[in-house]
Symmetry: C2
Subunit: 276 residues, 2 copies
């Protein structure tokens, strides 16, 4: 019995069932409502993406905001206004093909459904924004361990005092993820992640967290915190939480995102979209 | 007498007068209407950019088009809708700070002024798109000669049969520039230009022109044609002529661009914005 037929035979599935499935197969499982959990570790090697859906009347400003802040907000695809269809990084329907969503009205979380068909409107535009899962695999491939994976935590995420370049109503501080890197691997970590501009690219800061307004023991998010060893250097990358936080703070009346950790799985191999 | 004071003393200037001027000084000369010629070779080392100004009602679709076609259309900056001010790649006014413009109404060229203040409207959005001058300097630095410079021609530009990924009303074939590269330098040419995604990046095609619908002896533009030697390989890069051609073909009712060869000179060193 293949993995796929095993899946087909079951009403719901476990994360182990999903291992080895292709991005297309995974999106089918999500679409059928048989998996509503996280996507970390699934379809290894394929890029995953953050989702933000906004009304068309703020889409131009939002796209300009992302263009001005490519490290936290690397846009990988934008739908045609009014269309929920992804055509470049996969052939997929944003209303159904993620495992779970967050729906915000007037800046307040109102629902976390597994399907947003009932929320879709013909004035919405979908934005896919690169996710750090891609460069994390590249770090592992280069022999740079990921502490949060080793400790079975979510990567640490912080709000900095570094202001993004504003665009219209979109303004606010950059959100970053932090990974402890051994001092003698910091240069390699910069080189490796620079190859992936579509998934946040190179670090935005290395070393002293206080220079960007971060206290490593206080995250503004529900994420892990690390004990730093003597030879650990904190390395900070732009985080896809930035555009969500900025959009929420701008009091957009309606927004849908992926639920944290429940990302869009693309058909693009991360290595196939590396800069070089 | 410094170069600058020599400039200040003259009503108009020659291209030699402009050599050694900074981007800021050059933009001042353009703003004062004392140079309306081309910008090739000026402010060496600094990125130059193509300009397209469009009405806001098509700006979102145009930006999505560029996002989907990053090699011919690498957006480096977008103005706030209604504003002619560049704030990131320079502090500059798009109405005055280029040497010469082309103004199109209903797809027809109606004027080529040195100042577009009288044409500015509060619904316009300015787009700067990276220009190949940046990676050309990098090719020269790597010992890869540029035939069109050696022969004192404009680089060859062709319309291909490769369709861009469309977005709304924006659709059409990719326009490319071609440079003959010696066979043993082709790999290095790919490596060198890959570092500059903001200025068209890596080639889109190497070798047989017929595979992309190009006859090397027939350009659709007023550009040079090269005799290829036995060991020459034609190498094709995405060209900033693409978004202009696509915007014109889409019958936008109003558009302003730089005049061909009369680009926006930015304050960014090309090497400072290289991918790695």
């Amino acid at each position: 019995m293949t993995v796929q037929s095993k899946i087909k035979a079951a009403d719901t599935v476990t994360k182990e069932d999903l291992e080895g499935l292709s991005p297309q197969q995974l999106r089918a499982v999500f679409r059928e409502g048989r998996w509503s959990g996280g996507t970390e570790g699934l379809a290894r090697g394929y890029a995953q993406a953050n989702l933000i859906i906004l009304p068309k009347d703020v889409a131009l400003e939002f796209l300009i905001f992302c263009q001005r802040n490519p490290q936290p907000c690397p846009i990988v695809e934008v739908t045609d206004p009014g269309s929920p269809m992804i055509t470049q990084w996969a052939k997929a329907d944003l209303r159904t093909d993620l495992p779970r969503y967050s729906v915000y009205k007037e800046g307040v979380l109102v629902d976390q459904p597994t399907d947003i068909s009932e929320y879709w409107r013909d004035d919405l535009v979908g934005f896919l924004i690169g996710c750090s899962y891609s460069f994390e695999q590249a770090l592992l491939n280069a022999g740079i361990p990921l502490r949060h994976q080793d400790e079975n935590k979510i990567v640490s995420v912080y709000t900095t005092n570094v202001q993004c370049v504003p665009a219209g109503r979109f303004a606010g501080p950059m959100v970053v993820s932090m990974r402890p890197v051994k001092r003698d691997q910091v240069v390699r970590a910069v080189q490796v992640t620079s190859r992936f501009p579509a998934t946040h690219g190179a670090p935005v800061h290395i070393g002293d967290p206080t220079l960007i307004g971060v206290d490593l023991n206080r995250t503004d998010f529900d994420t892990g915190v690390f004990e730093l060893a003597e030879d650990d250097v904190p390395v900070f990358w732009g985080c896809g939480g930035t555009p969500q936080a900025v959009a929420l703070a701008s009091k957009i009346d309606f927004m849908i995102t992926h639920k944290v950790g429940h990302l869009f799985v693309t058909d693009k191999l991360s290595e196939a979209v590396a800069a070089i």
